[in-house]
Symmetry: C2
Subunit: 746 residues, 2 copies
């Protein structure tokens, strides 16, 4: 067997020449060829396996190669978990810094500061002399209008400072660090190359600015960016292992796992994280990756737990424990929450995309720093007076999810106790609850408006937390309403059957949870992964049915109003090439209707396997901008031999001119297996069999586009050649994936 | 646009003729063409959507069509859940019938019988006057050697009766009802057709015989067969909906969901069930199916819970609640359990396959009824004296998983209480524990031996429970050993750091659970789904790490000793065509090395698009046994036009002879788009453009087989044509999937 026996591998190895550096790599903003990458890896693996029988050293190398994937996963888990812990701790501290300072050490946050104090009672856990609000520190008093204004001003000042630092750092060092990162990661995982998007600068700046952005009180979360951070870690760690450094497909397997790690540390939900990666972001997700992702996600979750950023040894962000079972009748309000979630999701996507488009097309986009400062200023100004907007998004959600226990001092739990205060059966709302409801309603409108303009600014911003907050508020409002209705109208028919007088039948916290899931589902269109994340928060199968009812309704409603989730919408807005795997291709066209060149265009540009000179080929390259050229037997027969990529061709010809003596424009180029020997007179020939893909994918011109799109998706092709009536190569070729997907989308 | 514009759809519709009945269907024991089925469904969907704009009725039809998938899932969930509940209840009752009868109603099982009794104390829950053992009923006494012998005999008699009934019913009515069914379902899901395997008779007989087989005390479980039962339900319910009845690919999506339902009802683990289907049995599992499977699995789990077969309102089969956290040092024994699990898994597979091969090849296979009776007899004989083998497999596992509480009366919990008996800190083993350990060790050897010969007999038999039982016994033994070691040697270095004197640091129940997972993992090679199933049993993320350590070790050890899991091994043993999706194709061959006909064989048989007569084509069909023929422009040019399936050709020619006047052997056959008009003289022509696949898949002869296999797997092809040097159709074609997979396997 000669070199060409390796088929598509043949382009990588030429037995006559050394492999040319650069051949087989990709340019920035290009799509990778999954088939080529996978066969590269297969060859590498085969080589190592066959060598391993020769010496002990090679055997060790083979074993270490086999385990390098697991080692990499371990490292990703450890690093991401540690980073997430640091982010949590710093964000907590900075958030508290907006309100005051700890005297016993400025690096303590409010909670840690008061741990050391003996003077705190259980009721007033968060009041201790060591912790001083800005008013106390600067003005000496903690009461009165003046103190309030001082605190207000310091709150706004800190918020503006943090967000200013965040946006300046992003603009100065790593423009890719802004936004949530999930749309871009989805695109990268589907095979696109964006150099630097997962680099070390992005990692460092995103980590720092994420803390600043979260602390500034903007309506954004850290969950999406944590996925980006985990993917950066993975990409950087990939450089330690040849196997992953040199293969774009293998690296994308690792990145899929890293996406799972990101969600795992964000919510403390490893299984949910893996399913999120599978359902939402990944393109190619073999079973091996599933298992490894799970391992990495677990390692990360446990690393985070050992750091213990929440100080409660809980793995999960919002730990909830409900005691009352739900009743079938409650499915009606749960479904209502689902409808609200779907409506809000669809509305949010439209409003946000419209706003982002405005930012792109109008002068608004020219002043990103000013925009961030204005939004931060307004957010801080409006959020300080209302305690539910002043607290951070995750604290708010925690409070809303919480089921009131007897010792709870929260305003939301201010129920009028009945005579025996040891139990909590019949709970008429007290004045605190009514105040809380009003504040929550105001907070809801505020959150809804401000989130639309926040997501997409030039700071790291996730929207899991804001979406969940909106849903949780609505859910809690509905929950309290239901609770009071059931309480005051025990005799109503719909209540009678299951809620006897004096019993506590409705858990408003559960409504908040269902609402949060519904809104998040409406915005992101996640389904099973969302259910599992929520399941991992509560740990009980009991509440899966309400969650599923709400999430399903939400998805259906949102899908009816617009097919795209927020991430797909942003991918389209940014014009990334992405072939949606979830949508069915609905049109009834054939490959011949879609392929380029069209009937009216000039003929397809092809190269012949012999007889063309270097100058001629360079002319073809200069005249056209196709990313590759079919190679045929001769111009007359048009019989297809193979396909050669533009980039490989350019690099190889340059290389030949530089390294091979006497190659001039008149030198002949041969793609033949057995090129003729060098002529005695005349310029030497250039042999390019090595870069020729001998197994290009072909379809007939009668192939329905639905099947062609399926082939592109499933095999991860860059291009596909169209043949007519069997042997005769058609004078057309399908455009590469990038343009295909645009065709598909419209 | 004319009819041929529909591409591969063109073969289904011919604008000139009515579609011929039978064209587009498959024969038994054949592989479906996924691409064809999917484009059929796409066309159907497109038609309904385009019609829906015309009338309200069509719009309603379109909506009902869109929701029929969900409705089907709901029905599958309800039916499977109900059936699983019935199976659980009847198996429970029949199992108890081996030991005695309830006087207040023979249809009560032991537990229900004693519920009504007021004379039972908490300590002696299972002793009540209404429940009479056979000895009491027949001999009047419940003590003494005579009573023991009477009970022993009745136990054996019932066991023999049940297993006899089971094997007779299976043989008489539904031979497909035997075994676990999972290997066959895997094969069916990959595209193979086994008619009747999922039919109503199989369902009825499998349900009945499963109850009998489980009750007979044989070492088998009902989990695998429940998957089969759920798939039968799904298949039968598919007939209610045109969409699923007429499309083999769509039906397989539903069957994938049904597999999830099966595991969901078996363990009460809906998420684990979905992952089981994804990881272990499914071939084509789009995201839409994932979500629907989850819905169906949940519905089934809740139906089962409302039936409440275990009488404890628990969803899960083995509910466990542990209180003590585990320590890092314990990972060493957990890994040891993993190694044992892997060894046992590999050994079991070898032994079981060797035994099954013996059954196939020797005279043993001619006496299935006798075999079942002998195995049942021996099992019953040996299992009665030992209480751990006498109880059913799931009871045994429950008991072994159980963490001893203060009130536990089990022998395994017979610890010497310390002075203050209110707490359970320091637990030196009492005499009961030592007796239990001996009995467990005997039970272990018994189970290990008897399971090997049981799995594969002509009765329904799953091996989840027996595998888990083996692992649980080993785990419990190791757990108790560790516990006593830690107790008696608090000063040892490895114990010192984390287990202070007087503390209860080791949970033997957790060891049993880890051991069970390891053994099940070794046998089936499940990974993530197994972890999730176990996680759903305990509901705590705490114990995922021990489980994962054990399952990973088990998989690595087992894989090192043999790549195949038990299901793959049985698929290969039975010679089903199955293209393993998990394995990488490792050989460095090209399509030209693998394709048929080989270099030395006669030329490829092709049809020409015009000029062949009916007689000639019938001759080609009679002379060869290929499943399809390439159609070329002419014998000289060999330019490929399309591909026609043997079955479609046979049916169409028969049809033409029957229905079309004057068609004789001399009639010419045209595959052309525009066939010439009927000649005035001579026999009429037969137009077969309609059955021609105009978009056959082609690869070049230089395509590496690894890529070709990937294409087969991912697109679900039946055949693929090999072309040489571009246009010229090679005189070879790859064999259809069935033979391909055999090539791949060796």
């Amino acid at each position: 067997m000669t070199g060409n026996g390796a088929g598509s591998n043949g382009k990588l190895m030429d037995l006559l020449d050394e492999p040319v550096p650069g051949v087989g790599t990709y340019e920035d903003f290009n799509t990778i060829d999954w088939v080529r990458e996978k066969s590269k890896d297969r060859d590498r693996h085969r080589e190592i396996t066959s060598k391993s029988e020769q010496s002990t050293w090679a055997l060790l190398h083979s074993i270490s190669d086999a385990f390098s994937g697991w080692l990499l996963m371990l490292l990703i888990g450890l690093l991401s978990g540690a980073l997430a812990g640091c982010i949590d701790i710093s964000a907590h501290w900075l958030t508290d810094l907006k309100e005051g300072v700890c005297l016993s050490g400025f690096w303590f946050n409010h909670e840690h500061c008061c741990w050391g104090s003996n003077q705190t009672t259980f009721q007033e856990r968060d009041k201790c002399p060591q912790w001083q609000s800005w008013a106390e520190l600067l003005g000496g008093s903690s009461e009165g209008a003046a103190a309030y204004i001082v605190n207000y001003l310091m709150f706004m000042l800190c918020a503006l400072l943090f967000s200013f630092l965040a946006v300046i750092l992003v603009r100065a060092f790593a423009p890719y660090a802004c936004g949530s990162g999930i749309p871009e990661i989805k695109t990268i995982l589907s095979g696109f190359i964006i150099r630097g998007y997962l680099g070390k600068w992005t990692l460092i700046i995103k980590t720092i600015t994420l803390v600043l952005a979260v602390s500034s009180g903007l309506s954004l979360g850290k969950e999406g960016p944590l996925v980006h951070v985990a993917c950066c870690c993975a990409n950087i760690l990939c450089h330690l292992f040849t196997k992953y450094r040199q293969n774009e497909a293998k690296r994308r397997e690792v990145l899929s796992a890293a996406a799972a790690v990101g969600v795992s540390v964000a919510f403390g939900a490893p299984i949910g994280g893996v399913l999120f990666s599978l359902e939402e972001v990944s393109y190619y997700f073999p079973l091996k990756t599933l298992w490894r992702s799970f391992f990495a996600a677990l390692v990360a979750a446990f690393t985070l737990r050992s750091i213990n950023p929440f100080g409660n040894s809980r793995l999960v962000l919002f730990y909830v424990e409900f005691h009352t079972p739900w009743h079938m009748v409650e499915l009606v309000p749960f479904t209502l929450l689902g409808i609200f979630g779907g409506l809000w999701g669809a509305l949010f996507i439209r409003a946000n995309i419209a706003w982002c488009r405005r930012r792109k097309t109008t002068r608004l986009g020219h002043y990103p720093v000013l925009e961030v400062l204005v939004v931060t200023g307004i957010t801080a100004l409006l959020s300080f007076p209302n305690s539910y907007t002043r607290m951070s998004g995750s604290e708010l959600i925690s409070e809303l999810f919480n089921d009131c226990s007897l010792l709870d001092s929260s305003q939301l739990c201010d129920y009028n106790s009945s005579e025996n205060s040891n139990t909590l059966p019949d709970r008429p709302a007290g004045p605190g609850v009514y105040t809380a409801l009003w504040q929550l309603a105001l907070a809801l409108f505020f959150k809804m408006l401000v989130t639309v303009v926040t997501f997409g600014m030039k700071v790291p911003s996730g929207l899991f937390i804001p979406s969940m907050a909106v849903g949780a508020i609505v859910g809690r409002l509905l929950g309290v309403a239901m609770e009071q209705m059931a309480l005051n109208h025990h005799d109503w028919l719909i209540v009678k059957g299951w809620c006897s007088s004096g019993a506590d039948c409705i858990t408003p916290g559960l409504y908040a949870m269902v609402g949060a899931a519904a809104c998040l589902g409406g915005v992101t269109r996640m389904t099973i992964s969302l259910v599992v994340i929520m399941f991992e928060l509560t740990g009980g199968l009991e509440y899966i049915v309400p969650l599923m009812a709400a999430i399903m309704t939400s998805k259906w409603v949102a899908d009816a109003l617009g097919r795209e989730g927020i991430y797909e919408a942003h991918i389209r807005l940014n014009g990334y090439p992405f072939l949606e795997t979830k949508e069915e291709y609905g049109h009834k066209t054939l490959a011949q209707d879609v392929m380029r060149p069209r009937q009216s265009d000039p003929l397809l540009v092809v190269l012949t396997q012999e007889g063309m000179s270097v100058g001629e080929i360079e002319g073809v390259i200069a005249d056209t901008d196709y990313s590759g050229f079919p190679v045929v037997v001769s111009q007359e027969s048009q019989r297809l031999v193979g396909f050669v990529l533009r980039r490989d061709l350019v690099i190889s010809l340059d290389n030949a001119r530089k390294r091979q003596d006497g190659v001039v424009s008149a030198s002949l180029v041969f793609f033949l297996e057995h090129a003729p020997p060098q002529p005695f007179s005349g310029p030497p020939v250039v042999k390019l069999r090595g870069i020729l893909d001998l197994s290009p994918f072909t379809v007939t011109d009668h192939t329905p586009m639905a099947i062609a799109v399926d082939i592109f998706r499933k095999l991860g092709l860059r291009q596909c050649l169209v043949t007519h009536n069997g042997p005769m190569l058609s004078h057309r070729s399908l455009q590469p994936l990038a343009s295909m997907s645009v065709d598909v989308g419209t």
